[in-house]
Amino acid sequence: MGGWAIAVHGGAGIDPDLPLSRQEEAKCLLSRCLQIGIDALRSSKPALDVVELVVRELETDPLFNSGRGAALTEKGVVEMEASIMDGSNRRCGAVSGLTTVKNPVSLARLVMEKSPHSYLAFSGAEEFARQQGVELADNEYFITEENRGMLALAKEANKILFDYRIPAPEPETCGASTEKPLQVMNGLPISIYTPETVGCVVVDGQGRCAAATSTGGLMNKMSGRIGDSPLIGSGTYACNLCGVSCTGEGEAIIRATLARDVAALMEYKGLGLKESVDLVIRERLDDGGLAGLIAVSRDGEVACGFNTNGLFRGIAKEDGTMEVSIWGQGLN
């Protein structure tokens, strides 16, 4: 047993021109959330409670794309989704299409614990939220001025392109240039794409793993679009070996069943956590799909992996390691 460990993320794929002030804000938020998790772990809270607590905080802060500050659909409203999984018994809960629930991750947990089902969506999920008495807010609460601006930009840049991999045509390059004119992710210029999904993974002092992920989805998405975040095995997965939360291009993550594959490589191929994380990022994302993930193992290891230019992330371990970063290569 290697003691507790925690990792948080605030999305993969970052505008290289993101203002320094914004980078600092993101780091402060990640540090604060990490500290909340650390304190909870020190007071012996189970992994499941800790991931919920941390993701709630990320949802409540408007900076990242979840809860308050969630991205807007083409209709200018939020449709949030989230999931949570308890590795010790593989129980899980998920929600999609929420428009009034302040903390989607907590409703996902209630679906797991208080409903006969594991995934509820749209009006049925909202109805369940009301019955459970969770905190609700008008859709306006979730919408920030900044995201209104981003939606306008996204509509202008038009488009979630059909093929994510093809950058918008550049008239003057006539197809001869090998330079990418614009960094595109999820079919949008990367400056519009950020900020992104949040997630947390934890292994507690007793070696129990848990994972939680929450998102507003894509800016300018079609109403009704479901991404990888609520899908167990894609955006979120935990078992007795590890806990994993993913972020990035949802469709690539779904095809890769990215979160489950980290665990499956450990379980079926006997790889270590870091090896598994590196392998899925290197080999499981088809067609140049862009993604990042955070993971912890029951032995108290923590790993991050991404093939984007950065991943908003923070990690901490019982031995005193604590690190918050944005750019560069994945941590160990």
């Binding site: 299409g97 749209f122 009006s123 109805e127 009704g224 479901i226 095995g233 469709e251 069943t257």
Partner: protein, 322 residues
Amino acid sequence: MGWAIALHGGAGDIPVTLPPDRRIPREECLRHCLKIGVDAIEAGRSALDVVELVVRELENNPNFNAGRGSVLTSEGTVEMEASIMDGNTMRCGAVSGLTTVVNPISFARLVMEKTPHIYLGFDGAEQFARGLGVETMDPSHFITRENIERLENAKAANRVQIDYTQPIQKDPVKEVPRGDGPSGDSQIGTVGCVAVDMDGNLATATSTGGLVNKMVGRIGDTPIIGAGTYANHLCAVSATGKGESIIRGTVARDVAALMEFKGLSLLEAAAHVVKDRVPEGTVGLVAVSAKGEVTMPFNTTGMFRACATEDGYSEVAIWPLN
């Protein structure tokens, strides 16, 4: 090598005493759908086309819980879901919360081919379907008299069990089958088809109305890639049974992952998943491999199923053989 096809109409607690008037139409439907699939493969159609074609036929048949004949939510409505995946390209499409789309599986394929997304649900999905001119019908088209009775029985018999407003102690029992309906047959049905074509391309498709008396908005394993449905270059899998168990067990992906990461054969991988990854009495699946192997394991009393391979083998069955 060679082509292979397998299809299912749901796994569950199907009593061996199922009366002939309930059994025979279903067996006939399975046989009919198998023939449609085999004919299409032999005519050189792609695996993706074949699984869509067969599942459409299963959806159109009111004897199974998908499309017309879907079971009802606690509000007496239908909310259908489906997904489809092409093993070669790993492209996939999924839909949930459909109330008027006649063939959810074909709509899932359109989501795969005509949108930048994989998965659309509920009102947004319905609106998109109408925009594409997909065939829709009044919700009453999907509701059968038998399913109205099933809902009434489920409500009467299991009110407490499914009353999620009650505090639930400890680990609540999830998605307990709602007891036998008026006909005494399974309440937990889903339909699916997997195929490998003459060129070795793999594909899978799964479609369902979900659970009798489910909460409005409930999503099961069927539309979730990796849970109810998965295909890659090695195999294609469609699962059926208790959604919660299939989601937790990432059943369809795990069959493929065991082949890919542990080097198991299709039969070994599928048997391992059904035996060790999910609780007894909850899950069945059909799967084919790129080599043209086929397997249809289940740990329930029975599974409505059928398969055929190029070498002439063919099977239509409900309960364990021999």
